[in-house]
Amino acid sequence: MMALLAYAPMLDPLVGGWDYWYLMLLPLALLVSVVYKAMRVEEPKELPRQVTRAFLKFIIAFLLLAAGLWVLMLIVERSV
């Protein structure tokens, strides 16, 4: 509670953000998709669909990467 009262946004690190760091990948993926697709598409009306697709691809890639690393760790654990 005291940490929350002393918290100054933008000056101090986000209170409570420590435990939910993985959720911070979501805005990162969304904003990278927005900027990248804003460069690529030629018509503004295409942007929402293209951004949604790129964002979902990011998330699926993150999940596949996490699953792949998990399997790799299981293999390493069994081999030692």
């Binding site: 100054a8 946004p9 933008m10 000056l11 101090d12 690190p13 986000l14 953000g17 420590w18 760091w21 911070m24 805005p27 990162l28 904003l31 990278v32 927005v34 900027v35 990248y36 697709k37 804003a38 460069m39 690529r40 598409v41 030629e42 503004p44 942007l47």
Partner: protein
């Protein structure tokens, strides 16, 4: 003006894009592209600061908000190199100590004034770390190479970071610091792509997709 030759010089577009993310597109009349590309980059940069605090931006050559120097001192036959944020402004001889060693009275510049000290280590001079060893300073602060690509907003954030450090605001560490550094550096690298894209559109060389 979505395709073909632009009336604005690519050099002007590149400079505008460096000054403010997305401003190059604005000069080309592509307002929606400027809004989403520039706005996205600035939002990413500000979110990085929101997550990790302003001190996630570390200007190279500064330590805790003050200019960092390397100071050379002679101790017997040895020369010691010592990091300091308090540069020497005046040195004078101050007699000898009980062991017969020469003493020196040194005046150092400190926040809000001058501090005097007596030492037997003869000061030989000091240099700003960025002039003494720029590559090692940058090597210890690699995220900055990505962050600076956002342009002057990174320098403004760095200046505010120095003020916060001088006021005693603590740095973030571990995960939050990594996430904040990642956001701000990715914003800079995306801005590099935006600069290249806006410049090639200005020269009429935009890749058809």
């Amino acid at each position: 003006m979505e395709s073909g030759e632009s009336k604005v010089s690519p050099v002007i577009v590149a400079i505008a894009s460096i000054i403010l993310p997305g401003m190059g597109y604005l000069l080309l009349g592509q307002k929606w592209r400027a809004f989403f590309a520039g706005g996205g980059i600035i939002t990413l940069f500000l979110l990085g600061i929101f997550f990790a605090g302003i001190r996630v931006i570390n200007l190279p050559g500064y330590q805790d908000g003050y200019l960092s120097y390397v100071e050379a001192r002679r101790v017997g036959e040895m020369v010691h190199l010592v990091p300091t944020t308090q540069p020497i402004v005046e040195v004078r001889e101050a007699g000898r100590d009980l062991a017969g060693r020469a003493q020196y009275a040194i005046k150092r510049k400190v926040p809000g004034g001058v501090r005097e000290e007596i030492t037997t280590e003869r000061p030989m001079g000091h240099r700003w770390v960025m002039l003494y060893s720029p590559m090692s300073v940058l090597g210890g602060n690699l995220w900055f190479l990505g962050q600076i690509l956002t342009g002057p907003i990174c320098l403004v954030a760095g200046y505010l970071s120095n003020l916060a450090a001088q006021a005693g605001v603590a740095k973030s560490y571990a995960r939050l610091a990594d996430i904040g550094a990642l956001y701000t550096a990715v914003a800079g690298m995306l801005n590099l792509l935006v600069i290249i894209d806006a410049t090639s559109r200005a020269s009429g060389k935009a890749v058809r997709r």
